[in-house]
Subunit: 166 residues, 2 copies
């Protein structure tokens, strides 16, 4: 385990600002979910890709246990994120899960110390990385799939929320 | 200008690791550019959105002056990123500009100090933010548009590079 201390490294962004950055992105993603017509959220697809509801459920399935594991260092083994298992069937239920995740991140996020972020761990039993990279992966993966949702919305003639509004 | 010092804040990620993270993303985006057939790079579109060559050119137009301004604090005023102005007409020329940008980031990036990242400045004369947020915006904007390129590629029956390979 590499555990450099903060004094050895130059600060780019603080733990607190990073959580705020993440929640800003999650706030935008929530509005992208809302922008979809109910049926299109669950069935619109391009090029054989998943409907956006499934992508959003993957984001929840990563963030909800992920933020707790970043606190505790205990990672459950996940061979594949089976976002279809507990897939909600309505937009309202998906948003309810989204908001529950927001609360869990608000509760657990501030408990993740700088020292924890500098540790190398095997996230979900298979992704070995510094914990800061693991959290960045959560955020990057969300931006990636939300970018895809923008194309879905545009293909449906729906204007997505502005990317820079968080 | 807010200029908190590193001792007041808990490190999430270091300046050095953040640059590595950015270049990892840029390496993936380069492979996404390469994955497009020459003509589709410049003319494939969904829902009235820009072809990916134009999005990639926007990323270059932001990163190239952006990294220098993050060093110097001198921002040129940009009312709109006119990526069509010097738009290359071939994939090879676009990749040449991409690689030039990679070199400029490798040269200037390490000169951006932690103290510079904590400053609030008006990027490109219109986006007021901490400089760390400005750099995160560069990266997030790249992930966002590259996610859209994944849909373009899938719609053309082309398998994009794996998201997690950097």
């Amino acid at each position: 385990m590499e555990t450099p201390t903060t004094t050895q490294q130059e600060l780019f962004i603080s733990t607190e600002a990073m959580l705020e950055h993440w929640q800003g992105h999650r706030n935008l993603t929530r509005r992208v979910i809302e922008a979809f017509p109910e049926d299109k959220l669950f069935n619109h697809s391009i090029g054989g890709m998943r409907p956006f509801a499934h992508m959003a459920m993957e984001l929840i399935d990563i963030a909800l246990p992920g933020v707790k594991s970043l606190v505790s260092g205990q990672w459950e083994n996940v061979s594949e994120f089976d976002h279809t298992k507990d897939m909600p069937s309505t937009k309202a239920d998906l948003l309810k899960l989204w908001d529950k995740t927001t609360e869990v991140i608000n509760e657990y996020g501030p408990q993740i110390t700088s020292e924890r972020y500098q540790r190398v761990e095997v996230a979900f039993g298979q992704y070995e990385n510094h914990n800061y990279s693991t959290l960045l992966y959560f955020v990057d993966n969300e931006i990636h799939h939300r970018g895809q949702a923008y194309v879905y919305l545009r293909s449906l003639d729906i204007q997505p929320p502005f990317f820079w509004e968080r």
